[in-house]
Every structure is written in structure tokens, then in C-alpha cells.
Symmetry: C2
Subunit: 242 residues, 2 copies
Amino acid sequence: MLFFTQCFGAVLDLIHLRFQHYKAKRVFSAAGQLVCVVNPTHSLKYAPTRCTAVQTSVEQAVLPPCHHHEAVHDPQLVPCTCPLFSCPWEGHLEVVVSHLRQTHHINILQGAEIVFLATDMHLPAPTDWIIMHSCLGHQFLLVLRKQEKYEGHPQFFATMMLIGTPTQADNFTYRLELNRNQRRLKWEATPRSVLECVDSVISDGDCLVLNTSLAQLFSDNGSLAIGIAITTSKVHNAENEM
Amino acid sequence: MLFFTQCFGAVLDLIHLRFQHYKAKRVFSAAGQLVCVVNPTHSLKYAPTRCTAVQTSVEQAVLPPCHHHEAVHDPQLVPCTCPLFSCPWEGHLEVVVSHLRQTHHINILQGAEIVFLATDMHLPAPTDWIIMHSCLGHQFLLVLRKQEKYEGHPQFFATMMLIGTPTQADNFTYRLELNRNQRRLKWEATPRSVLECVDSVISDGDCLVLNTSLAQLFSDNGSLAIGIAITTSKVHNAENEM
């Protein structure tokens, strides 16, 4: 009898430990993720698509496709990559981040995993939610855009771009994750370089695409939470080669 | 010197073992997954949306919303759930599977994880790719549909439905996964019951949605491979409650 009582006690202890582990894991993952509230930037001066060059030419020529200023010849000199305004600024890759912060007031966040909380999802298209993400020694630009690709049917497009060259971008993998109402949507891809155009990535649809009803299912009180994680893709490549 | 030679040999052995492990792992996972080639069923007699009832009424009334036959009163008597034709067949849930196999020649596959390989993705909309999946003691219906929600812009919609009641469907989670060209897209959700209508699930967009360009990125030689996995959702619920 004593044996059974002890056995029962041990089982109870195990269940308790398991419960504590789950709780700790949840608290830890919640504490490890920085939640950033991102307000929309409703574009009044929405420029038509600025990029017409074919994307594949970027890798070959290492020249920015968005040369809306004919004078750009230095491959390191890139036009402003902020997708919101037809910004006349041009500068070297190294100063793009400070330009985005100072001129366009885009926030920058640190951390391997962050939660991007876009507010006021109901606002009419075109609307952008933008943030910079500093991680693994590089800066990334996350753009969430509400746009009417088909008139009367707004959709949401989310993509991540490296503030660096396409060759540097190939070393990373970004993941965007939505999780709510017993639904989960994950998008994983190699980030594009800001030398390519955010407009063309979105018009190609080579990004996370959400229709309005799905965006509503994932939203809470008009806000959409997107989990972001960036990793180096070297391990993936090594596995694929085997 | 001999010591260093032996050390080097040991390191080489370890690398070799590691490589063998990766290879075995890949072969195993490939062998564990049943790949099923699914040819399209181009619908000539495409019926207009047969479901007009609100989905929430299904859970409350446990009555099929698609009563295109006014005589349906028995809650266990459901109209044919094949979404392709305006099929006049009506029957009990228990015989829906045999009806789908015999009348509509829909294949049924066994296994926890399968790969659904849809061929001829270029065919014009509307086109359906349908299969039944037998798993965890239940039968599921996977529907991939190419449809023009917005004229001139075909999209792909994929969803999984349980051949059972909505209450039974709540016990499961299905996952659809696309993985190609350094992009990965995962959709996880609770399957709907076939008592609800596949048409309404797709028109609501509460499923995996792909635009044509993304479908092309994930396709290989005009075929799209979708990894399918079904699990019981009880563990998830237990974790959420903690």
C-alpha cells in the first residue's frame, strides 16, 4: 500500500514539474519577444510604381533598379529605399538607416525575435506600416502594405528587406508568422536587398499575402500581430547540398 | 605526431557519420511520405455557389447549409459534398466516402503525412484537384481550387474538410506546406466539416490562398507539391489553457 502511495506521489510530482516547465517556457518566450506597436503611415503622396527594371538584373549588375535619378552611376550609391514617398534623397548604403530614421522617423528595434503589432488595419488603402529591425549585425526593413491590386479588394502584403547588397541578403532567412483563432500562417523566405524595390516585390506577390477576411481573422481589436524571426541560412544550404 | 594523425582520423570519422546520418534522415523522411499525383478535374458544369446560409448556423443547428433539396430534414442526411458538380445525390455521412469514390472517382490515401502533387497548374480556372485522405480513424477531403475571384486574376485556394460533424472536426488540426525556391509557406487550421460548404470556405478566403506568381514559384514543371499533415488538436488546447 505504501508502495502505491509513493508511486502516486511521484506521478503527481512529475505532472507538477511538467506544468511548471510549460509555464516557464511560455513566460520565457513572452519575455524574450519584444512587442513593437507600429502605427500606419497613410500615404497622401503615393507615387506610382517607381521600378521597371527586371529584378534578375540586380544580381548581375549590382546596380539599383530604381534609378529615378538618371545621374546614379556609382553602384554603392542607392536612392532612398523608403517606399512611401517619392523621396529625392540619394546616399550610400551605409547611411540609408540614418536617413530612414531621421527623415522618415522609422523606428529601429533590436532582437532576434520581435512581434510587429500593426494598428488601425481598417484604414483605407494605400497604407504602410514600416519598421527597421536590427539583428545579426545587420539592419532589415519590414514593410506591411495595404493595397488594392484589384479595385475594391484591398489586400495586405508583408515583406522583409536587408539594408545591404543582394549577396549579403542571400545569407539570411526571415520568417513572418501569424497565429490566432486556431489558425497559423507562416512565410519563410530569403530577404530581398533594398537595392531591389519594395514596390516590385509587392506587385510580384512574392511575399506574405493576406486577403481582408484572413487579416480580420488574425487581427485583434483592429491590430495585427506579426511574429518576426531572422536566422542565417548557412545551415539550410549545407543540408540542401547533402 | 601519431596522436595528431589519430585525432584527425577521428574527426574525419565523425564528419562521415554525421553525413551518413543526414542522408539516412532524408531518405527516411522521403520514404515516410506518400506522394500522390492528382490530376485536375476541369469542371464543365460549374455550378454557381450553392451555399447561402451563414456558417455559424451549422454549429448551432447541426443542419447542412447546402440544402439545394428542400426535402432535407434529417440532420444526419447530407447532400453530396463533392464541390465539382451540382450532384443530386443525398445520403448519410457514413456513405459520403463511398459515394465520392464510386460516383466521382476520387482517390483515397492512407498515412499521417502525404504529399499532394497537383498537375497541370496552368489549366484555366475554374479547375479543381481533389483527394480523400484517411488518417487517425477519419476521412478528410482536400480541395485545391483555381478560381477567378477577381476577373482575369486566377488564384489558388486549398482547404481540408472532415467527412464528419463540425464537433468532430474541432478535434483536428491540418497543415498544408509548400516548400521550394528558398520559400516556405505553411497554413495550419482546424478542418471544416463537409456539412459546411467548400464553396463558402473558399469564397470567404479562410484557407491557404496563393496568387498565380507565388504558385509558379512553388511549382516544378507545372506541378505543385503540397505537404499535408493531420494531427489531433488536444495537445494544443491543453497548452493554451495553461
